[in-house]
């Protein structure tokens, strides 16, 4: 199974010569007439966690949502510039947005399990994409996804119970299991811990670190501590512009830009 085999070829954290998994060039996003994002150039390295930080309304979530074209679902939203996934322009008309989203999964701010059973929640993606050949195959995908999301031991005896009956942290891990069950290459996380308590947050952060072996992860977070804990690369956004990006330890210990320094020391934001 590709999930398991992918685990064995986990790449080292830093590979300076490897091509970026995703790359944005001069990305701008408009909501109607209002421009929310200006000329963002950012490389997303494979098998790394890239965190997007910045004050509210700085455009970090907007950038994240343009990586799997979830902005398409918002009326009047328009994206300019170029975003590539393995060198393919994802806004090219030849790209099927449905396929793109199967390759670039997403976990939302608020846990949003479907009002179905735990099993059906995880099986949803594999079913609609025809990933499983038979029932046993599907069972295996569901079980391994739940295991990878660190939820297996808690739910293995009640897979047929509704996913909405879990606690907030469990629901979020269920959403992560659901997202990785479709075997995406990139996993986008939009403030995945902001609705959770500190203990559930710690569990998810640990999980993100493990998932890095198999997935390229982009995470939006409000918490600078979280960015420092989970990510290898950090990008700082302010007022719709990408101010600074680089290795996480560089951004937090030795920021080049005055605005970045002000933000991470708590003077703005």
């Amino acid at each position: 199974m590709s999930l398991e085999s992918a685990a064995t070829i986990a790449a080292p954290v830093s590979r300076p010569n490897a091509p970026p998994k995703m790359q944005g060039e001069k990305v701008g996003v408009f909501y109607g007439e209002k421009q929310a994002l200006f000329d963002v150039d950012l490389k997303i390295e494979q098998f790394n966690v890239t965190s997007l930080i910045g004050p509210s309304g700085c455009g970090k979530s907007t950038f994240l949502r343009s990586l799997n074209r979830m902005n398409d679902t918002i009326d009047g939203c328009r994206v300019v510039g170029k975003i590539t996934l393995d060198h393919d322009d994802i806004y090219d008309p030849a790209i099927d947005v449905v396929e793109l989203r199967a390759r670039v999964g997403m976990v939302f701010q608020k846990p949003n399990p479907f009002p179905k059973s735990i099993y059906e929640n995880v099986a949803y993606g594999p079913k609609i994409h025809g990933i499983a050949r038979n029932k046993a195959d599907l069972d295996e995908i569901v079980h391994s996804s739940l295991r990878r999301a660190g939820l297996w031991n808690e739910v293995k005896d009640r897979l047929q119970e509704p996913g909405t009956g879990l606690s907030g942290g469990q629901q979020q891990r269920l959403c992560i299991a659901r997202a990785i069950a479709t075997k995406p290459e990139v996993l986008l996380m939009d403030e995945p811990c902001s609705a959770l308590d500190p203990i559930a947050t710690a569990v998810i952060e640990e999980l993100i670190d493990e998932l890095r072996e198999n997935f390229t992860i982009v995470i939006v977070t409000h918490s600078m501590q979280q960015a420092a804990r989970v990510s290898q690369k950090t990008a700082f956004f302010h007022l719709g512009k990408l101010i600074e990006e680089g290795k996480t330890e560089d951004i937090f210990t030795n920021p080049k830009n005055k605005q970045t320094q002000d933000y991470i020391t708590g003077r703005i934001g």
């Binding site: 979830m70 449905v98 199967a102 999964g105 009002p115 993606g125 609609i128």
Partner: protein, 489 residues
Amino acid sequence: MSAGWVVAIVLAIGALAYFFAAQRARVQRDGTDRAKEVPHSLPTYHGWLAFIFATVPALLVYLVVSSVSAGLLDSRIRSEVTAHIADPAAASLSIGIVRNASNALTQLDLSGPNVPTSYAALRDMAKSAGITLADSGEDYMVPLAAGVNADAGVHKLIGQGLTLLLSLAGAAFAYSRIRLRLRARNQVERVVLCSLLGASTVAILTTVGIILSMLGETIHFFSEVDPLTFFFGTVWDPRFAAAGSSGSEGQFGLIPLLMGTLYIALVSMLFAVPVGLMAAVYMGEYASNRVRSTVKPLLELLAGIPTIVYGIFAVVTLGPFFRDLSAALAGGFSFIQAQSVFTAGIVMGVMLIPVVSSLSDDVITAVPRAMRDGSLALGATRSETIRKVILPAALPGIVGALLLTASRAIGETMIVVLAAGVAARINFNPFEAMTTITVKIVNQLTGDLEFNSPQTLVAFALGLTLFTLTLGMNVYALYIVRKYREQYE
């Protein structure tokens, strides 16, 4: 003095009470040393309190005395008439004659020798005054009518006197009670609260009243017709008889009517549910804001068309169209009748489309956006998202909406009166005429009838059956809708 005058005088007393009470409160307020005592309520509250004391009890007493008086007069007429006539059907006719006679007497000039002694004389006098009375009155009715009128006069005097006295007493009491620390504001608030409560119970009490009045007549009906033959009878043949005579026996089988009702409702739902649901899915999920803001009001406009207009459309246009169409299809023989289950069902279905789509649209848009995003982000298409996430999540709400729609279909009257026909029979061919409970209620109550024969009383039994049916469905629908709401709150 007429009732209108009494109310006007009471209101005038109330207005004066308001004015003087507010004035007195103002004087007390101005003359007080606030360091020692702080006035509790504004003068206007003292005014309103006086107004309430002057009007509310007086008007309530007036209402009570008037209704008691009506009851007393009624029972006097009833007891004297039944002393003369034993047969209840004939007696109820005579009671009506006496009422009309006493009405006529109040409008005639009865000074000196003009007092009529016989019914014939009264009728002639009334005729010359332009009032028509029934022919079949008897002489004993005249003094009875006159006596009733005298009683009514006494009652009226007592009632009005009591009302005015009470109004004045209330005003005086409220006026005398004004003190700096009187909590007039709180008391007025309490009265306002009571009237709000009263307003909200009016609808409930009316429903209870409707049930009770129908229940009374229904019990009366079942005293003459066996409930078993009503509920399980397969033949509907009420056999109209002349009013007053209850000789001929009809057959009152509910089954053909119930089947017709359910059959037509089924056809209309089969048409309205898919169309309405698809319209709702389009509105809720696909339509751009501009399309939605035009199409949705247009669709809801359909719900504002009076149902009789749909009925006319069915009879004049659609019925003949289907008949001719079927004739063309079958080569001469029109297998769809102009009045049929099919025609009525389709037209009723058109009427129900906006109901289905509007209710389902509300339910569908109530599914949180997070559900849609979650599914789309997994690479599902829009239609997969709708089929696999949104509709299942909205299902209980949609079922509730459909139950509400079905109870509309079952209770619908005017379309079926015009489009379904009046033939009460058990029939499974949708292209032939059938009839419904509502049609038969209309039929049984059309004309000038006394409610004393099973032919008319059956309408109440039918009405109560219909009421129970739709009430049950509505209660169940509300239960489901409420349960569904809890999932997201």
